[in-house]
């Protein structure tokens, strides 16, 4: 294999300098759990690697008023085990617990799972339901963009080549909120999703408001299901209402047939997972 020049800066400032100088041909590596395989199998052939895994300043989980702020290089395992995230965004923990395996989650980062821009990333539907905001930094500027609308297609998102994702933040769910992430894979663990459904809403008795529904693995990017959410908004939960919502989710699912599943099965399962999750959170207490 051709020698790949590797940079391992210890500060964000230095990392951004290198990224700006190297521009084309440099590939940013965080946890490396996807990129290492791609590089070793020659699917990606970068001239140089910018290893940002040493930037400890980007590894944190903080409470900031009504928001939770997570540094982009926080490992998935740290997010999953975080009491703050468990308390205020349990659906994110449910999603992350399904990413790869414990060993993998000790390396892979929350930011990497986003910038990789895979439609099957299990941490992304929960973050989209939470209406997460991303902070992107460059030597020129810092900007905040909503995660909703950030993805263009598989492996393609709205980050500039000279930018790094530095933070992910979202509003805490209150005690009156319910949420879930349900997904279907070939196995319980170590499998890639065929379909994933994230849901959050404020709940008063059986009444639902502030509803968001997001679907993974059923379109070129993780998507919102706005018609499903609008249908549930202001409704009282019942099995019949959930059944109707599931039919709308099936319509909003735009799955394809590939090695992991068929389009019609995935579309149907998007509805089924919504039903399953709603029953779990609405009928439990």
């Amino acid at each position: 294999m051709r020698e790949i020049k590797t940079y391992s800066p210890r500060s964000l400032e230095k990392a951004l300098d290198i990224l700006t100088e190297q521009a084309a041909g440099v590939k940013v590596i965080a946890g490396g759990t996807d990129l290492v395989v791609q590089v070793l199998e020659r699917k990606k052939d970068p001239r140089s690697l910018l290893d940002i895994s040493r930037l400890e300043e980007l590894s944190y989980i903080r409470e900031d008023g009504d928001r939770i702020r997570i540094g982009a290089l926080t490992t998935q395992r740290e997010v999953e085990k975080s009491p703050l995230v468990t308390a205020h965004a349990p659906l994110l923990c449910e999603g992350i617990r399904l990413v790869g395996s414990p060993q993998l989650r000790n390396s892979c980062t929350l930011g990497g799972n986003i910038i990789n821009a895979s439609p099957v990333a299990d941490s992304v539907p929960p973050l989209m339901a939470l209406d997460a905001e991303l902070t992107l930094r460059s030597v020129y500027n810092e900007r905040r963009v909503p995660l909703r609308g950030f993805f263009n297609g598989p492996g393609d998102c709205g980050i500039e080549p000279y930018e790094l994702l530095v933070e992910i933040s979202f509003a805490k769910l209150g005690p009156g909120h319910v949420s879930f992430y349900e997904r279907l894979g070939q196995r319980k663990f170590l499998s890639i999703s065929k379909v994933g459904v994230a849901f959050k809403a404020a709940r008063e008795g059986a009444g639902l408001s502030d509803v968001a529904v997001s679907l993974g693995a059923v379109a070129p990017t993780v998507i919102l299901a706005p018609r499903t959410a609008a249908f549930l908004e202001g409704k009282e939960y019942s099995a019949a209402v959930a059944g109707e919502a599931a039919l709308i989710a099936e319509e909003e699912s735009r799955a394809i047939t590939d090695i992991r599943s068929t389009s019609s099965y995935r579309d149907r399962m998007a509805g089924a997972l919504l039903l399953r999750g709603l029953a779990r959170v609405m009928e439990s207490n």
């Binding site: 790949i4 070793l40 690697l49 895994s53 414990p102 060993q103 993998l104 319980k188």
Partner: protein, 154 residues
């Protein structure tokens, strides 16, 4: 580039291409062939080692990312209280069939018991969910972890 590691308590310094993996270095440069190569893409867990106390897949860690870290492989387990208890329990419970996956299972078990000294069966299953045994002898592996936990607590 020069890579510095502390492997099983010993400081080592070696020359390695930055894109070689930690797995390559352990097996080929340091002769620690207890760590196994299975799928080479993070799906089987056979190459699991502890890096700075955490179980990681050594096939997915580049040498450059491992530089400066402390690594424990299966060869280092007998000097470790939990590790030794696990090795003995795996033998006593008959957890080993062909054995190829076992170094990885031991390292995941070590990480699990360090964090959760008295795991439930569900916690054991989740803790070992990143390791695949193609002899499919999972039950005795779970028994071995339970046995080690019991011995460590008494």
């Amino acid at each position: 580039m020069t890579i510095k590691l502390k492997v099983n308590g010993k400081n080592v310094e070696l020359e390695a291409s930055p894109t070689r993996t930690l797995l390559d270095i352990l097996r080929e440069e340091l002769g620690l062939t207890g760590t196994k190569e299975g799928c080479r893409k993070g799906e089987c867990g056979a190459c699991t080692v502890l890096m700075n106390g955490k179980a990681v897949l050594s096939c997915l860690v580049l040498a450059v990312q491992a530089d400066g870290s402390e690594v424990i492989t299966v060869e280092g387990l007998e000097k470790d209280r939990i590790g030794k208890a696990l090795q003995d329990a795996y033998v006593d419970a008959g957890a080993v069939q062909c054995g190829y996956c076992i170094p990885g299972f031991l390292m995941s078990s070590r990480a699990l018991l360090a964090e959760t000294p008295d795991p439930t069966l569900g916690e054991i299953k989740e803790g070992l969910s990143g390791n695949i045994c193609r002899c499919t002898g999972y039950t005795k592996i779970f028994d071995a972890v339970k046995l080690a936990a019991k011995r460590l607590a008494t």
